[in-house]
């Protein structure tokens, strides 16, 4: 049982949690939904006792275990060893002893995870998720809080998780299910709480509400689906899966199936293309450098004055919310950092100095146009890939709108579409199916490092779910 009353938490200038009161009763499954940054994780961290609230009261019976989105596992150790990390003091152990104890813990949790002697590094993302869950359940908490547990699970694995949640709830454990995926929450939760901007906006029994009401509450305005924009430019070669000039190919899949490796390989093999990395804070911008410096990283010549002027232009063009060109990139919000990366990469592929331009005589200043010759880039096909995207790619964007709010997402998608219309061939790597279907002219599924054949959106909509789950 957890009772939060008028809880507030502020981080710097942002009020992450604003006067929230919430009760979680024993044995019930509560769904906590909201967009990114709505305050769900922060609220639950307070409930679990990880961080302290600035105001309000917390009453809690028994322990609350919070299973994080990011794994807290040691890759080099085995499943059994990871489970043994909680032991106190100093005692002698043998491999067999640890594995036996681990098996007991796993059996007691009711979750299936075979062969505790395997290293965590060898486990699939779904199995790691299960291990985290087992760790939490083993502590026998009164309340179990799951933060976006299905973001890396296949549909089958998600079903398994829901069975476990129902069983735990039947045994008297309270379960809080944080998610932004409404269909799942509606399927398993008894009560749903919607947060937006740090406040609770809707609280209702599942039977008394529906998806549309909840979605509207999450976003704050009626949600509309973007119409698919018709394809412009010439289509690529279907058989080889090379995106044509002006075409966007999306590679979809559950996270952890080789997307990061593909993006990194393409980054190394195609140094002349633009790359938008998945993790914008770690790999996208250099936090200690200014916006102007970040934007100038790909230029041939540099003077501080020109760079500042260029940065000002980009800030205006891409609507980057910043104090000025000399602001530290690390101070920007995630969405604005992404805009900086976008500005840099998109301007690069448009610039005359980009090596992507064909060496044929062409007027200076002409961006990507419908020229006939295509400069072949590294044609080497990687191992294990069914078809190697590579030749002729101008931009590789990985999860470009992840974690961005609706406005920023819309902006990013518009920019990608515009670049494609102007003639760039773009590879989009994403786990967001909506994004893929909205933007792509061709879709391929990635599963365990292998790529499917390219499909049109129509073909893909039938097959994508099963392909992503590994079902042929």
């Amino acid at each position: 049982m957890i009772h939060l009353a008028h809880v507030t938490k502020t981080f710097g200038a942002t009020r992450a949690v604003d006067d929230v009161s919430l009760e979680v009763r024993p044995g019930e499954i509560v769904g906590l939904v909201g967009e990114n940054g709505a305050g769900k994780t922060t609220l639950m961290r307070i409930a679990a006792g990880e961080i302290a609230a600035d105001a309000g009261t917390l009453e809690r019976e028994g322990r609350a275990e919070l299973v994080h989105q990011h794994f807290m596992l040691v890759d080099a150790l085995t499943i059994a060893e990871n489970l043994a990390l909680t032991h106190r003091g100093f005692r002698f152990t043998t491999r067999r002893m640890i594995e036996r104890e681990a098996q007991q813990i796993i059996d007691g949790s009711g979750i299936e995870l075979r062969d505790a002697a395997r290293r965590v590094a060898e486990l699939s993302v779904g199995e790691r998720s299960k291990l985290e869950l087992i760790k939490a359940i083993a502590r026998k908490p009164a309340t179990l809080i799951l933060d976006e547990p299905t973001s890396v699970l296949t549909p089958t694995e998600s079903e398994e998780l829901f069975r476990v949640m129902r069983r735990l709830s039947a045994e008297g454990t309270a379960v809080v299910f944080i998610s932004h995926k409404l269909p799942e929450v509606l399927a398993v939760a008894e009560r749903i709480v919607v947060m937006r901007g740090g406040r609770v906006v809707v609280e209702s029994a599942t039977s008394e509400t529906n998806a549309q009401v909840l979605a509207d509450a999450m976003v704050g305005s009626p949600v509309s689906r973007f119409p698919g924009i018709p394809v412009a430019g010439q289509l690529g070669n279907r058989a080889t899966g090379q995106p044509g000039r002006g075409e966007i190919t999306a590679i979809v899949g559950v996270a952890g199936n080789g997307q990061a490796e593909l993006a990194a390989r393409l980054r190394d093999e195609l140094p002349d293309a633009g790359h938008i990395p998945e993790d914008r804070t770690r790999d996208g911008v250099i936090a200690e450098m200014t916006i102007a410096e970040n934007l100038a990283l790909k230029t041939k010549r540099w003077s501080p004055r020109d760079a500042a002027r260029h940065a000002e232009r980009m800030i205006a063009l891409y609507s980057i919310r910043a104090e000025g060109p000399l602001q530290r990139a690390g101070d920007l919000s995630g969405g604005n950092q992404q805009k900086v990366v976008l500005a840099r990469e998109l301007e690069w592929i448009k610039s005359p100095s980009s090596a992507l331009r064909a060496p044929s005589p062409r007027r200076r200043g002409e961006g990507l146009s419908t020229g006939t010759s295509r400069v072949p880039l590294s044609p080497r096909a990687g191992r294990g890939w069914r078809e190697a995207p590579g030749e002729g790619l101008h931009l590789i964007a990985a999860e470009p709108a992840r974690g961005l709010d609706i406005e920023a997402t819309r902006f990013v998608h518009e920019q990608l579409r515009a670049a494609a219309t102007a003639g760039a061939s773009i590879l989009l790597i994403t786990s967001d199916l909506d994004e893929a279907f909205e933007l792509a002219d061709a879709i391929q599924v990635i599963y365990r490092g292998q790529l499917s054949e390219p499909m049109t959106p129509a073909e893909a909509s039938q097959r994508v779910a099963s392909l992503m789950a590994g079902v042929a």
């Binding site: 807290m72 040691v74 080099a76 150790l77 990871n82 990390l85 909680t86 032991h87």
Partner: protein, 283 residues
Amino acid sequence: MFDLLVNAIPLAVVASIPLLLAVEGELVVQRGGIINLGIEGMMLTAAMTAVVAAQATKSVIAGFAGGIAGAAAIAALFGLFAIVLRADQIVTGTAINLLAAGGTSFVYREVQMFTREIPPLRTDAVLPLAWIAVPIVLGVVLWNSSFGLRLRACGENPEALAATGRSVRTHRWAALMIEALLVGLAGAYLSLALSSGFAENMTAGRGFIALSIVIFGRWKLKGALLGTAIFGLAAAMQYALQAANRGIPFHLLLALPYVVTLLILCGVAGRVRAPQGLGVRQR
């Protein structure tokens, strides 16, 4: 050449004792996720404090204790900066080495005890200790104990251990103190048993060679022993070649250990699987 090699073995085994102890100590610390570049300074300090203690008390046991105390003081300083203040480990280690280099010269000169005699070491226990007992004990502690498991987690993914409610800092401090014990022994043995007292910069890079051997041995005990054996043999060959007067210039022979170590580091080809959290500053 072969007979030279064989004759060099006993010398190698004894002369590499300080190096081996240092390798063993650094192995523990690096498994915990810390790079102690200051191990050179730690050994040098221990060498000095051991001699001062032995000269002052006329007891060699007190000398060894003094060496360990000196190493522990350096370890405390290093831990204060690297663990508590979360400073960059390389910069801290470099500073420690400079501190020890200047400090030992300064203190030893002030203390003015170099005229006093150093009591001799009358036991052979250190050799089996370094080559047999310590590896066995460390092996059990690191791989067959709950503490060792947690320490290795500190070296791979400290956040994971912290998430279970344990203190990463405490484990790293413990590792550092184990290293201080071993390196203290190493420094003391160097100045009390292998040499006849303290001399400026007498460690001559053994700490850095120890670091290289830890890497060569892929952070495992077997590799550490093997690496030290190879190196020790090469180093002992240096003396044998000198004695045999094979016409190789003296100074170039002095450079031999370092060149050999460079080659050892070359032998670690491709992807070296270091503990994932090694040297990463904790946020």
